[in-house]
Amino acid sequence: MDFACPRTWAEALEVQAQEPDTVPICGGTDVMVDVNFDRRRPAALLDLTRVRDLQGWSHRDGRIVLGAGVTYARVIDELGDRLPGLAMAARTVGSPQIRNRGTVGGNLGAASPAGDSHPPLLATETVVVAESVRGARRIEIADFYTGVKRNALEPDELIREIEVEVAGGPQQFSKIGPRNAMVIAVAGFALALHPDVRRVGTGLGSASPTPRRAAEAEVFVAAEFDERGLWESRSELPESVAEEFGRRVGLATEPIDDVRGSAAYRKHAISVLARRALTWAWSDYRRHRL
């Protein structure tokens, strides 16, 4: 096995291009588990923690450009106000030790259907910027997940950064698991209100082979809000709308039975999470007059 620890992004891309069986490692919280248990013996590990370009974030045109190597701990500390949904999800990841090391880029690299970054990224406009020696390309978040633990990266590509829309309204994230820490989501749900474009964004986790949106439920709730003039009036959310929204989010799931929960439970749980998330976000919207 080789171990490469480039200092620059150009060098990192060069290494990845030369040997496609090179496994990038950032926080190592997924990679090292596999290596420790002999589940993975890559030709080489490519340490990305020394590549400066990946370790920071910046503000650009109403978006946060988040370097692939930014840890959950930093998302929580530094971006809670601008990316509240992602920060809420980050707070639920693993333990302090895992949050100090694990990254959003690594979560995308692993592309687990249970990854907690995915629902909030899906609920807002997010673009993954991938790059190789051949050049950079922008991948819409919904197109990034291609299968169970599969993503749209080519073998020579690395994730450079993730562009996430700064919150224009209240956001929510919730997940279900047996305790309050160290929990792989049995079901997860994120919601973002976008009052400027009169849209409600959704993201589902642990509910289908890949993280996904509940597109039909989004259309339903947007139409209801428009018809009832709710964005302008900010009046109370009719319970029937929240209920029906939850039901339709449930229909968007394609869950499996496994040791953590049955498919039927997951579908039901996601409906409940969705109804509550909409109710909570709406009451924030009414209060804050954002």
């Binding site: 620890c5 490692i25 090292m32 588990v33 248990f37 590990l45 302090p96 030790q97 895992i98 820490a181």
Partner: protein, 157 residues
Amino acid sequence: MRVTTTVNGQRVELDDVWEGESLMYALRERAGLPGSKNACEQGECGSCTVYLDGVPVCSCLVAAGQSEGRDITTVEGLASKTDLHGVQQAFLDAGAVQCGFCTPGLLIAAHDLIARVPEPSDPDIREALAGNLCRCTGYEKIMDAVHLAADRAGARP
């Protein structure tokens, strides 16, 4: 490969490190520092917790090569030549050590908490120690120990 780091304030050269080796293994088997314990090798138990550049991490999930040129503090680095660190003494005094396997990781996590939050509440402690499992389940005594350590640190002039 060779990895050069600073461990507990001393420059350490680790030889013949395998490229996929964890920092925990390198510390225990090459640096002669068996304080950090190996219990799960998957980030679940926290017994291998060390400071890496001042931040508590599971050393079983850090590739040894990633620690090149970095600064590491293990449980062995908490005490001075003559005295236990206050957090260590509090664990002893409160009876928070049974078999002791989880203790090194808990000490680092508790040390970090008290540095950040001098007067931690019960929820602060539970949150900060959520990544550290104790199979002897002495959690109540561990809570007592962290409070005791924080109180004593606060009382000191």
